[in-house]
């Protein structure tokens, strides 16, 4: 771990070629580097959004096939709005993703702290245990959870909760399954953040605050935040996209969007599928825009802490 202990010294300007001194050349190179990096970033975002643009455009396709754009039509959106099954599936997916992300982010972050900050007996075993859910093939995990839930009596039928007269079905079997694999993904990312994180700030804080928990909450946790958020994003995405594990662990009557889309594909891929994604896309953008508005007035987000 590199810590700077001696005061920085300015190197004497060496002349590489006539008229161009070393620090100036370095600045130019740095500038070029910056622009190249930005260009790369732009290209990458272009690459990432290319299929998304196609997806959105084709959701307005007149033809029912996705190969040719034959004309503009919003009929698929109409069909989608009448497709109650799919709408329910979307909400199911979001609910499971949200709950499993929250749980696995908390548990995974704690695990990451344990692995990076402490040594204890059984650490190697814990390491292996944390990698297993990432390595195991989906179908194997799906079948083993299926059989386990069946044999252990844990079952699959969603819990029915009544909150303020409303019926809420909690698909705990699916949530448990998602948390199972997401813990590891979160842990891996948070560990990357924690590894060799500069502890001087924490040590300074510890001198100021007597309480180690206060240090953790006020200093360490905010410093870890980018990693935690990155981990949560990944967990959410993986949960939304999961098919095999979700399919085998879901109870009767419980469909998620991915399960439904896989099935729709069997029937025939129509622009209706694109319509689903387009709506989800714009809903997400809408939510993000909304939250930005709310954030302007609120507390400073811990992520903004300049470290």
């Amino acid at each position: 771990m590199a810590t700077v202990t001696s005061p920085p010294t300015t190197a004497p300007p060496e002349t590489l070629r006539e008229g161009v001194t070393f620090p100036q050349w370095d600045k130019i190179k740095a500038r070029i580097g910056d622009y190249l990096l930005m260009l790369h970033g732009l290209l990458m975002y272009g690459f990432l959004y290319l299929p998304i643009v196609i997806l959105v455009v084709f959701s307005f396709n007149k033809s029912k096939f996705l190969s040719e754009f034959t004309g503009f039509s919003i009929s698929w959106y109409g069909e989608l709005l009448r497709d109650q099954q799919t709408i329910i599936a979307v909400w199911n997916s979001l609910f499971v993703a949200l709950v499993s992300t929250i749980i696995s982010t908390v548990i995974g972050t704690l695990a990451a702290i344990a692995m990076e900050r402490y040594t204890f007996r059984g650490k190697l075993a814990m390491d292996a245990l944390l990698y297993l859910p990432v390595i195991i093939p989906d179908i194997a995990m799906a079948i083993m959870l299926l059989v386990f839930f069946n044999l252990s009596g844990i079952g699959f039928t969603p819990w029915e909760l009544r909150i303020a007269g409303l019926r809420l079905a909690v698909p705990y079997s699916v949530i448990i399954a998602h948390v199972s694999f997401n813990i590891s993904f979160v842990a891996i990312i948070v560990r990357a953040r924690l590894a060799g994180m500069d502890r001087t700030l924490e040590e300074a804080a510890q001198d100021l605050y007597a309480n180690p928990w206060r240090t953790f909450y006020r200093v360490t946790l905010p410093m870890m935040m980018p990693g935690i958020i990155a981990g949560a994003f990944l967990a959410f995405t993986l949960s939304l996209d999961d098919f095999v594990i979700t399919f085998f662990t879901s109870g009767a009557g419980f469909n998620t969007l991915t399960v439904r889309v896989f099935g729709l594909v069997k029937k025939g891929v129509t622009p209706k599928i694109n319509a689903i994604s387009t709506i989800m896309l714009f809903a997400t953008l809408g939510l993000v825009a909304l939250s930005r508005l709310f954030q302007k007035g609120g507390d400073r987000s811990p992520v903004e802490l300049e470290i």
């Binding site: 033809s63 029912k64 096939f65 996705l66 190969s67 040719e68 497709d83 109650q84 099954q85 709408i87 329910i88 979307v90 909400w91 979001l94 609910f95 949200l98 929250i102 079948i143 299926l146 059989v147 069946n150 044999l151 699959f156 039928t157 409303l166 019926r167 809420l168 079905a169 399919f247 085998f248 662990t249 879901s250 109870g251 009767a252 009557g253 419980f254 469909n255 399960v259 439904r260 896989f262 099935g263 729709l264 594909v265 069997k266 029937k267 025939g268 891929v269 939510l287 993000v288 909304l290 939250s291 709310f294 954030q295 609120g298």
Partner: protein, 356 residues
Amino acid sequence: MKIRLLILSVFLGLLLAACGGGGPAVPEGVAEEVQFFNWTEYIDPEIYSQFKDETGIDVIESNFASNEEMLAKVQGGGAEYDLIVPSDYTVAIMIEEGLLAELDHDNIPNLANLRPDMQDVPYDPGNKYCVPYQWGTTGLAYNSAEMDEPESWAILFEPDPEAPYFGRTTMLDDPRESMAAALVYLGYDINSTDEAQLEEAKELLIQAKAAVYSYDSDQFDDLMASGESVMAHAWNGDILVAQEDNEDVAFTIPQEGGVIWIDNLCIPSTASPEGKLAAEMFINYLLDAEVGAQLSDFNWYASPNAASEELLDEEFLTDPAVYPPPEVRANLQYIEPLGEFESDYQRIWDEVKAAQ
């Protein structure tokens, strides 16, 4: 903050989803809902609300995308369904494994509506466990503007490198179906367990691979309609849909024969007695002449319901691609389960896929 909003919106959504309706009173001893495990979009959703209006029973649909996944889930003791829709050979497997409940024919008077040749199917004699739902055939789709009607499966297995279909053919990504095509071309039983015959079929499949654009069981209709592919090993119903977009797309069953398949309605042995009764009521409803016609109209697959045939479109009934004429029908075989030999077929398929 963001999280709070998300929770709120999810909650609202669930609120919307939780709103239900009324309906007539459900008879004693019958479940109020049928958990229906079906292929996606394989039924007109109108039928659910019609059924509810008539009987007060809710049909709740969950989906699966392949027989194998459905089978594995039921075998593993997964979620409990009242009604499932396996294909013929899966029915045979499930009967052997004791996974299906015997139907009480007294509760399904509309069974009489079935076509005679579907009342006693080889995989379930006497319809003890299942009732046919929709049926179809496997054959070759081709673009009539670019090529002539293929007479024989040879066109797949001895492809002409100069022909327009070379490199623009798709085959079903299904070991049993593709092997069936090869075996029937060779004149063998498509359920053969003879190693020598299987090896011969394998060689043909590897030969065919050179001309194959992709192995596709889902999008072959899209590929034909858009002109990306010129020939496809295909299920007939999907091709009919493609024909709507592209008139040049045609379907035929080569002279050596092909596969006939039937999707069925069955009740798992784990269903509760009340659930079983409700499911039987629903099966009966689906066998009604009008509802049967409604099904076929939605799916474009042939109906097993003789009474429905009077209500179906003349064009539909006389289309040989949907209802094969008797001489073609005689050449069609059912795929049957082969026990441990399934591994042999799978291994051959793996070898074909791995071949360069």
